[in-house]
């Protein structure tokens, strides 16, 4: 059993800096770049769901249809959740529980306000978004930050949450897996 060590505040500050520097939702609807494709490929491979093709939603109504598609892959969500729980359990044995909980809560609630504003700006710029979809985007982005923080705290070797965050940082929104297609907005 490993000893409990002080929370690495410098590491968490680096995550906050990356959050501040990200191009949240700035590239929604744009054509995918080579960099986007490479990051999406890394994310898809680390999900471990077999071969996934890459698709794209072009506007908010299409993204909303993807996110409400009854054929969505629960395996994708469950895979992320299983890895998130494993990382969280690892962090809880390594760091003081209260300090960890407080730091992650403050990180995600602070992130929530930032990304909500960015999503609202993207929705206003593009038009056609349902009001609730701005909240959905903010929830997805803040979840990605929470996952990234856990991965960094757990010194995770898997690129799963890092590559997912990189997609958000590049202004995209990974919408998840439907059938055998990973969809980006």
């Amino acid at each position: 059993m490993s000893a409990v060590v002080a929370l690495p505040h410098a590491l968490l500050q680096r995550v906050r800096d990356e959050v501040q520097g990200a191009a949240w939702f700035a590239a929604l609807g744009e054509a995918l770049t080579e960099g986007d494709r490479a990051e999406a490929d890394a994310y898809a491979r680390s999900l471990g769901l077999g071969a996934l093709s890459l698709g794209r939603a072009q506007d908010w109504p299409e993204a909303e249809r993807v996110l409400k598609d009854p054929e969505w892959s629960t395996a994708w969500w469950d895979r992320e959740e299983a890895w998130r729980r494993a990382l969280q359990a690892r962090a809880e044995t390594r760091y003081p529980e209260r300090a960890l909980w407080t730091a992650l809560t403050e990180l995600t609630t602070g992130t929530g306000d930032l990304v909500h504003g960015k999503a609202a700006a993207a929705a206003a710029r593009m038009g056609g978004a349902a009001a609730a979809s701005i909240h959905v985007a903010a929830g997805a982005a803040a979840q990605a930050v929470y996952q990234l923080a856990l991965a960094r705290l757990g010194e995770d070797g898997s690129p799963l949450f890092d590559s997912k965050f990189r997609l958000f940082a590049a202004g995209r929104w990974p919408l998840g897996v439907v059938g055998s297609t990973l969809l980006l907005f």
């Binding site: 969500w77 959740e81 609630t109 998840g176």
Partner: protein, 235 residues
């Protein structure tokens, strides 16, 4: 008898009468704890029950906002000199009874957002004219998010009642949870409420708020063809 006092900053609070300071501290502690319980017991577990990524991420955002309310109330409490432990679960303050029932289904969560968040809106509304301005401002900042959470409840209620099976499951959830909600508003002869009103920290009696809640809850339930079971009233 009511007392006239306006406290514009946390610093000014130090010069306020002891009864006023204690009353404000009780409210801040109560909100900090209940926001946290709500997020832990209902909002965060509901993410797993949400049926689509759209609903899951929307629920993520709701959970985050509820945690954010806890953080805001806790930060105000810390500025006031309240130890953090008193604003976290496990302290002397007991949680509301509804938090003793772990969430089991998506329909339960929708029922809670539809009706329990309406109760939360009433509690926050009563602070919108609070004489302690940092608490008043916090209530004003929180209110749009609370309204969004209640709207979330309405939107998913509208989805669920599209099928007889969905409506039946939602009605069962309402039947299970609603009876606990009127006691949110405290006892009819609450000494705390008397002090809150004396200092214009809060505006209404517990019974006035409870009656308003019952009226508004009945209206919203009726709008979606749901019925409210007989509720337990506070002593």
């Amino acid at each position: 008898m009511s007392e006239s006092i306006i406290v514009k900053t946390v610093d000014e609070l130090q010069a306020a009468p002891e009864e006023y300071r204690e009353a404000v501290a009780k409210l801040v502690i109560s909100h900090a704890i209940n926001e946290l319980y709500g997020a832990q017991v209902f909002d965060e577990p509901a993410i797993a029950y949400a049926p689509t990524p759209y609903a899951k991420w929307l629920t993520c955002r709701v959970a985050m906002e509820e945690y954010g309310h806890h953080v805001r109330f806790k930060q105000l409490g810390q500025q006031m000199g309240i130890p953090e432990e008193r604003m976290m679960p496990g302290g002397a303050k007991r949680p509301l009874s509804i938090f003793e029932f772990p969430l089991k289904t998506w329909e339960e969560f929708v029922a809670i957002k539809l009706l329990a968040d309406l109760a939360e809106i009433l509690q926050v509304e009563d602070l919108l004219h609070c004489t302690f301005h940092p608490l008043r401002n916090l209530a004003r900042a929180t209110m749009p998010e609370e309204r969004f959470h209640a709207q979330f409840g309405e939107d998913f209620t509208a989805e669920l009642i599209k099928t007889p099976e969905g409506k039946a499951r939602l009605q069962a959830a309402v039947d299970e949870y609603f009876p606990y909600l009127p006691s949110f508003f405290g006892g009819s002869k609450s000494k705390n409420n008397e002090i809150f009103r004396k200092w214009h920290i809060k505006q209404r009696t517990n019974d006035e708020m409870r009656r308003d809640f019952m009226k508004r809850a009945t209206e919203v339930a009726t709008r979606y063809g749901l019925t409210l079971p007989e509720a337990r009233q506070a002593a």
